[in-house]
């Protein structure tokens, strides 16, 4: 996304005009790494210091523990008060953060030179020992961090001197730098933990804001950190996040001026406000996707032909229109927001709905309609519910008798981790590299988890090769092939990528949406007037 993108208010007329300009190509899956309707909040004028911003969203975490919390919806605000050695920029490449620079001395040896004078929120200066402690804490199985798998390639971390730290890897790993900036990581003071639970309700990071107060699930109040290493940043004096589960209240809060900015999880409420001229509205493609995950070890989806029949039987445009309110992009495999890595829909097989071919595949699998098919759904995800209803209706035409089994998220996660889930609706996101999106999910154990029990040796081989290849062009070829294989034998049927949806008062300037949904953009925001 370009930083100088001009902001347009999304009135109905403008939206129609824009839709006409962008054209129907949007809906036939034309790849636009940076679509024209990816907008940034108006940034005209000089940023000014001061002011307070109240941000409303559907959920806040119960804990702000930096190394343990897993859900993206909870993690979005974390990098406003915690930081990592490198961060993933808006163009999805690793950039210096707490490390001023790094040297790649060999494919398995990286030396990071830390910024000097970086202070934690408790006033102490950060040094190499803190970096070593923090990353080793995530790697330690006793910590119980879900991010341990992202750092599995690290053999050792050595302190060279106060401001230099060396990472030695077991083997060359293309995503090493990207993983260092991953959502489970954060550099914390090595002397702040006694019981291991001190950071669940308080934060000691190096970020531009410090946590002033935190009420679990309700309120997170941040204050400008005066000793932040990037002098002059942030612009805001205070930033308050409020959890408002009922999105109609978010709309009302915006209209009443009680909220300065809002992130919507559902398109319905965004559509309610986006015609209002009293607000600015912004939607951006996201690295999130709604998907139907099949399984390779249960009837009937253990047959590749049945999986093809399902993929061909689903009208993905209709799913986007109905479940995603048309505010997103229909998918092939990886979402368009992943830019360089994304293979356009028209280049992939089994993407258009074709009921006749789907029936042929079903017949070829030796199954006679009606074929019973259980699809699991998770309570509390309206978009998944709407999607599964469209899917059930679509697949009935093909010859499937779909039974939707709705479970609580706790049950869902338990069975998913244990690799016992039946075919299920799902929502993924937050990945910035195909290795992150594919390796853990599709590589067979023990290296990966292969949650869907696909057991595809060719994909295993490609994923290993992709992980160990450092040349970007060669990696692109590898992951294009992986996407092709996934479309040919669809163990997952990606449906659509919902856009990130924000509305804000006119006085809010300079916000840029990050494709992951993480709120890095709030570091640059200022209040006008």
């Amino acid at each position: 996304m370009r930083g100088d993108d001009r902001f347009d208010r999304m009135t109905r007329r403008r939206l129609l005009g824009r839709a006409a300009a962008v054209g129907a190509g949007l809906w036939v899956g034309r790849t636009l790494a940076h679509p024209r309707w990816t907008l940034a909040a108006p940034a005209a004028g000089t940023p000014r210091r001061g002011g307070r911003l109240t941000f409303g969203s559907a959920a806040l975490p119960a804990s702000i523990e930096p190394h343990l919390e897993g859900a993206d919806i909870y993690q979005r605000r974390k990098f406003l008060f915690y930081e990592t050695l490198v961060w993933i920029d808006f163009d999805l490449t690793p950039k210096p953060m707490l490390a001023e620079r790094w040297e790649e001395r060999s494919p398995t040896e990286y030396v990071f030179h830390l910024r000097r004078g970086v202070r934690f929120h408790n006033g102490r200066e950060m040094d190499a020992e803190d970096v070593k402690f923090s990353y080793e804490r995530v790697m330690d199985p006793r910590t119980g961090s879900g991010g341990r798998g992202d750092l599995i390639m690290i053999k050792s971390i050595d302190v060279v001197d106060r401001y230099t730290v060396r990472f030695t890897l077991h083997e060359p790993t293309a995503t090493f730098l990207i993983n260092l900036g991953g959502k489970y990581n954060a550099v914390i003071p090595r002397d702040v933990l006694r019981t291991g639970r001190e950071l669940q309700g308080a934060a000691v990071g190096t970020g531009p804001f410090r946590v002033e107060s935190f009420e679990p699930n309700r309120l997170l109040a941040l204050r400008r950190f005066e000793d932040y290493w990037d002098r002059g940043k942030p612009y805001l004096d205070a930033l308050v996040f409020q959890a408002i589960p009922d999105e109609s209240s978010l709309v009302a809060g915006l209209r009443a001026g009680q909220l300065d900015m809002v992130q919507f999880e559902s398109g319905v409420n965004f559509k309610l406000v986006r015609h209002l001229r009293s607000l600015n509205h912004l939607q951006a493609p996201a690295i999130r996707w709604v998907v139907l995950d099949l399984v390779g070890d249960q009837e009937p989806t253990r047959h590749p032909d049945v999986r093809r029949a399902i993929a061909l039987g689903i009208d993905r445009e209709a799913v986007l229109r109905i479940a995603g309110d048309g505010l997103g992009r229909r998918l092939g495999v990886l979402p368009p927001a992943m830019g360089f890595w994304h293979v356009p829909v028209e280049n992939l097989p089994n993407q258009r709905r074709d009921v006749a071919r789907a029936r042929e595949f079903l017949q070829r699998a030796g199954l006679r309609p009606p074929v019973p098919l259980v699809i699991r759904n998770i309570v509390g995800f309206p978009s998944l519910l709407a999607s599964v209803q469209v899917i059930a209706d679509n697949l009935k035409e093909v010859g499937f008798d779909v039974r939707v089994e709705t479970v609580d998220i706790g049950v869902w996660i338990r069975d998913w981790i244990a690799r016992q889930s039946p075919p299920t609706m799902n929502e993924w996101g937050g990945f910035v590299d195909p290795d992150q999106a594919f390796y853990r999910h599709y590589h067979t154990p023990p290296k990966g988890v292969d949650f869907r029990r696909w057991a595809n040796p060719e994909v295993d081989r490609l994923l290993d090769e992709g992980r160990g290849t450092l040349d970007r062009t060669r990696r692109k070829q590898i992951y294009d092939r992986v996407q092709m294989l996934m479309a040919e034998d669809p163990i997952s049927v990606p449906l659509y990528a919902p856009n990130l949806l924000y509305s804000m008062q006119h006085k809010v300037k300079g916000f840029r949406p990050h494709p992951t949904g993480f709120l890095y953009g709030l570091r640059e925001v200022w209040i006008e007037g």
Binding site: G70, S145, G147, G196, G201, Q242, A252, I413, R414
Partner: protein, 316 residues
């Protein structure tokens, strides 16, 4: 009286023990634990990590050991620590209780202020249009679910009329008007069904009392109709109404969970709901136990109120 109070307190203690066992068991019957919630669905973790997390939360020990430890803590006045926010459960409840208590008190006050006069009016004007209107309204009030009523009120006041109370909770002590603006709609929603129940109860109790000999006697002695209704009839009719109001308190405590969620209020109901979703056992167990203790305490107080309302009732 003392013996009665001692007996009641012992019975309450036994009931609380039963509640503690039920809630402890029920939470563990719900599939999925805090460990899965914490890891999220995409975590690549080995058995070792899951084992260490289970150990960390004490889930690796037998249930009776966990239960025993929890009870021992309660005996010391310690409800334990929240697994997710690492804060004392008692502190979490204490911080949220004023919100829920205010909501409950206002809901009961609203239901009494509305229910008693309307019930009395319907009884006095039995068979007339106003009686029919009150009976229809009370049936409607009993039938409409709180979450639906709450959503309609939000839509009407916030979205259509664009009248929006503060999204952030303001304590009554700091800004009484601002506080009432926030709590008015939730209290209205929470008290509607109880108001309907009380009006029906008051109507039938009043009809029963109005047919009694002492009412006829009072009228024969020349007492004004207002005095007959207010002093002789209503006071006697209030005994069953107080009983109903006490029982309704339980429904109100249950309704608080729904109403606080709909109106985004930082009360005990929201705390409980969030804790259930996150499988934060100590918070769920502590909140339900405190709720049960409050409910039983209120009913006990209602029983003692009988003696105040009707001097003939004694607990000797």
């Amino acid at each position: 009286m003392r013996a009665y109070i001692a007996r009641r307190l012992l019975a309450m203690l036994a009931t609380l023990l039963g509640v503690s066992l039920i809630v402890f068991g029920l939470m563990r019957l719900i599939p999925g634990t805090v460990v899965e919630q914490l890891l999220g669905q995409s975590a690549l973790v080995g058995e070792e990590t899951i084992r260490s997390l289970r150990q960390f939360f004490g889930l690796d020990r037998p249930w009776y050991v966990q239960y025993g430890e929890w009870l021992a803590g309660i005996a010391r006045g310690d409800l334990g620590m929240s697994w997710r926010s690492h804060r004392p459960v008692l502190q979490l409840i204490a911080a949220r209780l004023p919100v829920s208590a205010e909501l409950a008190v206002l809901a009961v006050a609203w239901s009494l202020l509305l229910g008693v006069p309307l019930g009395a009016l319907a009884a006095v004007r039995r068979g007339r249009a106003s009686d029919s209107v009150v009976r229809f309204a009370s049936t409607l009030g009993l039938s409409v679910p709180a979450f639906w009523q709450g959503t309609l009120l939000i839509l009407l006041f916030s979205v259509y009329l664009e009248w929006m109370p503060f999204l952030q909770w303001v304590p009554l002590t700091r800004d009484p008007l601002g506080n009432l603006a926030i709590v008015a709609l939730p209290a209205l929603t929470l008290g509607t069904a109880t108001a309907a129940m009380i009006s029906r109860m008051t109507r039938s109790a009043m009809l029963d009392v109005l047919g009694r000999d002492y009412i006829r006697t009072a009228r024969a002695k020349g007492a004004s109709e207002r005095r007959v209704l207010a002093i002789h009839a209503l006071r006697n009719a209030l005994i069953p109404v107080v009983t109903v109001a006490g029982v309704q308190m339980g429904y109100i405590l249950g309704g608080i969970v729904v109403v606080e969620d709909v109106f985004n209020l930082p009360g005990v109901g929201r705390l409980l709901l969030d804790a259930i979703f996150q499988r934060d056992y100590p918070v769920v167990q502590g909140t339900i136990l405190v709720g049960a203790a409050l409910f039983m305490g209120l009913n006990f107080l209602v029983d003692l109120l009988y003696a105040v309302i009707d001097p003939r009732i004694t607990y000797a």
